[in-house]
Symmetry: C2
């Protein structure tokens, strides 16, 4: 739809040209260690994937198309397929399973806030479900609505809302379109000497609107903040009208409604413009690798750096298993080396800030018994967005691979780590598929941190059920151990059943009340976040 833009692969991650074969050592480990034996490749052509037939009445569709103009509407197989799923392992397995997939009946590409508003009002009147679509990188089923009760499904691709509407250099704020992918937004503000500093693993393909709607957190969150901390203003189209939020960095004008839209996952409305904090592009960046004796010792060191400083820009700690596999640098998989727990400690800023930060951090880390691993920092930086490619190759080979993440206060972290690891291990062992569980800390706060798990085992015949069982066990463990049901992936449909663990029945009722007000006919991403 835009020739200059690499389309996200319909069947996996990113640009297939970037994918690499698995190292022989890994194939051996999969076969011998995990019993992976049956390859499960994706269909070779998108036409092989069957989609449910279009059910939106032509008259309704025509009325919607008229709101954005003919050149900006699609209902061909390719467009429907590309907007049908996100990028969770369940999504990728669904493509491989050869089942007929639900897909939007119509893809619309609105060109303005007013067009979005008009589409939403029309959809509300005609009972058409609306799926706001940014990068299409959801890993929690955020793009697959429960649309049975609706007359059809429209995917609202925000691709065209991609401008830099203004840069306020004094306030260091950029007004940006929600359809901008990470690199596109960075290029726009970068040309003026600024960076947003938001670099999640999905950076290359996910969009600003998605970062906001799903409360994304980037690899440099320790330095720049999470995306929900970078958003100062939001314009939102809802079926009930427009919300313009954010007249100042902070306010005491009642509850902060920006924080109600952040994390709303398209279930309340569509973010049509974001005002985002920017900072000068750092003159210097340095990422150091350090080996700690163990994950536990490493966590102590990471906590000390976070609480007492110097707070790094990037701070990441792999557990022993992840370190052994070398997963901190996906390009170097299998090269983990000498055991222990690998930390990546990065500083960005002026030359002086970076040097002082790295030096002071070195003192803290050496005090914790850490030794430098010179290649690890640059290796991590080189491969920092490549993890998802690896998953595609592993799924093709017949491995079941998925990630899940949680967060907790520091004191709860060790038990949360044990409980989730145990739950995943036991669930998959009980299913006859011994698993490898890897974990890292990658987002830190004064009071706590995130845990990011990667799970790998052999796919059973019904790998979807297999993963759902393991995931349910992990979510139950998270609930008991007091962790958050998601640190940065979001709720979507996949986590919806557990939202009550985090905010209670009354919290869910409060959210549902907001949804009823902003979206009275419930057309916005039905079944996502709260029940439809």
């Amino acid at each position: 739809m835009d020739a200059s833009r690499t389309e996200l692969s319909w069947s996996g991650w990113g640009d297939p040209a970037q994918a690499r074969p698995l190292p022989a050592a890994i194939l051996g480990l999969l076969r011998d260690g995990l019993g992976v034996s049956r390859p499960n490749p994706v269909p070779t052509a998108s036409e092989q994937v069957e989609l449910e037939p279009i059910r939106l009445a032509p008259k309704i569709a025509a009325g919607l198309v008229a709101l954005v103009g003919d050149p900006y509407a699609r209902h061909d197989h390719e467009a429907r397929l590309r907007h049908a799923l996100g990028k969770s392992t369940l999504d990728l397995l669904a493509l491989r399973a050869g089942r007929r997939l639900p897909a939007p009946d119509l893809v619309l590409l609105p060109g303005s806030h007013d067009e979005v508003l008009a589409v939403l009002k029309r959809c509300a009147a005609d009972r058409v479900a609306v799926v706001p679509f940014g990068g299409g990188t959801s890993v929690v089923g955020g793009l697959v609505p429960e649309a049975e009760q609706f007359s059809g499904v429209v995917a609202l691709d925000l691709l065209r809302l991609n401008d830099l509407a203004g840069l306020d250099e004094e306030s260091r704020l950029a007004r940006l379109g929600p359809g901008l992918r990470g690199p596109e937004a960075e290029a726009l503000v970068g040309a003026r000497g600024y960076t947003i500093g938001h670099f999640p693993q999905s950076f290359e393909y996910a969009t600003l609107g998605g970062f906001a709607a799903a409360r994304s957190s980037g690899q440099a969150s320790a330095g720049y903040g999470r995306f929900d901390e970078l958003v100062m203003g939001l314009r939102v189209a809802t079926p009930a009208g427009t919300l313009d939020l954010g007249r100042s960095p902070k306010s005491a004008a009642g509850p902060d409604l920006r924080q109600l839209i952040l994390g709303s996952e398209g279930a309340l409305g569509v973010i049509t413009e974001l005002t985002v904090q920017v900072r000068p592009v750092p003159a210097s960046c340095r990422y150091d690798g350090w080996r700690l004796e163990s994950f536990a010792v490493g966590q102590e060191a990471v906590r000390r750096l976070t609480q007492d400083g110097p707070r790094p820009t990037v701070l990441r700690l792999s557990d022993e298993a992840e370190t052994a596999l070398g997963l901190a640098a996906p390009d170097q998989l299998g090269s983990g080396g000498e055991g222990g727990s690998l930390a990546i400690v990065g500083y960005e800023g002026t030359d002086d800030e970076v040097q002082r930060g790295a030096q002071a951090a070195a003192a803290v880390l050496r005090d914790a018994g850490a030794t430098p691993v010179p290649a690890a920092g640059p290796d991590w930086n080189r491969g920092r967005f490549h993890g998802p490619y690896l998953r595609d190759a592993l799924l093709d080979a017949g491995a079941l691979v998925e990630t899940l993440e949680t967060a907790a206060f520091w004191s709860a972290l060790p038990e949360l780590y044990r409980a989730v690891t145990r739950a995943l291990t036991q669930s998959l062992a009980n299913q006859g598929t011994p698993a490898v569980i890897l974990c890292h800390v990658s987002h830190v706060y004064l009071s706590g941190a995130s845990l990011y798990f990667t799970v790998a085992c052999a796919q059973r015949e019904d790998a979807t059920t297999q993963w759902r069982e393991a995931k349910a066990a992990a979510m139950a463990a998270i609930g008991l151990a007091g962790g958050s049901i998601s640190h940065h992936h979001g709720v979507g449909r996949d986590h919806r059943a557990w939202l009550v663990d985090e905010i209670g029945q009354l919290g869910v009722a409060a959210l549902t009340a907001v949804k009823r007000e902003l979206d009275p006919t419930g057309v916005m991403n039905p079944g996502i976040l709260v029940a439809s």
Copy 2:
């Protein structure tokens, strides 16, 4: 009610023993410069203030009293009066006007979350309005409900919810009762070596529950963060049940509902426990005074320190008028000295951090042409909580004195400053009372800052109407200039009409929907925040 606790004066600020007479220079200025000539003292005894009669039916009252126990209920004149008003100038003028005042029919002092919950459920059933009461320091009419449609009013004084339920040193989190005043909470965590770091001007008398419910911001917000940034967990009793929020520092489990309770001003429920970030008590504190050429030049310097560092813990900049009057140090009023714009730049931390911060800040400030004012930092620190005493003395003398505050992004700040100053000046001049308008910046963010105005002129006969007119003019100017309707005072009843300027009709509707869900019969602080 607690012998060890200095009661907040019923007729003014704080502990009357701390009040001081106005310096002669100020009395002269009031008389000669502003035409202040008619003293307006408070009644000498609380019995002189007439309250509306109790209207809550004895049977309903008895049912409510039974829920907390007889020793924890009051309906005497003194208790009703002490819970009738906050500490806005309008409140203080109402006491002086000799009008009969609305007051709660009954004051209850619940001892637990469950008792609060039981009271709320009973009040909802019996249609009794409930005013959650912390320190009683609201300056926006947050304690004066619109209760005509209800069968009576209960003030729920949270005094007894005052314990440190737990201190998690690893996560640096304290679980604290909402009824704790600032110094009480600091004493509890201070005994273990920690500080919350939240020091608003109301610190000595306001409570943690109020800090949270009204989105308070303290004088050291640049270093420790606003109170809404320090709250990691909340327990809330509502008529519809309990909310337990905050399982991790940050989460992607949908919208952050903590941010819906923060700023809810008692209109959604009662905060019964807070989990608050603490930090080690700093080894060293240093507050330096600097004189800048002008407020405009000072703002540039303050912005540079905020955006490029070293970010101070305390950062404050008085405009030329406030500097000339010496209001940055209320104890030294009238001693402003040699013109320009006075900045207070404070660092707290290790000796080394403080020294390095102060040195680097000195370089930035000298670069902006600043010269040191050695006494100003210690003077500010000594008088930092004394401003409200001054207001009492000025009101007694017959001056009309009030403060108002707003915030905006940096680029909007100069015009916001001019517009509000002009609106206040013109409105009061038109009313025949030429005014002095003072302003300072006292809370800074990467993208913007707050402006805090102090207004003084002669009281007209109907000083309430006089101030309401001036305030309306200021609020209109804020709306046009793009400022927030409040940076840290809150909405209450006094700002409610302007909430729509900040969040729009749809934002107000969304808040109202949440209120309907959590408080279906609308008994929680009716008329506060949103219309009842």
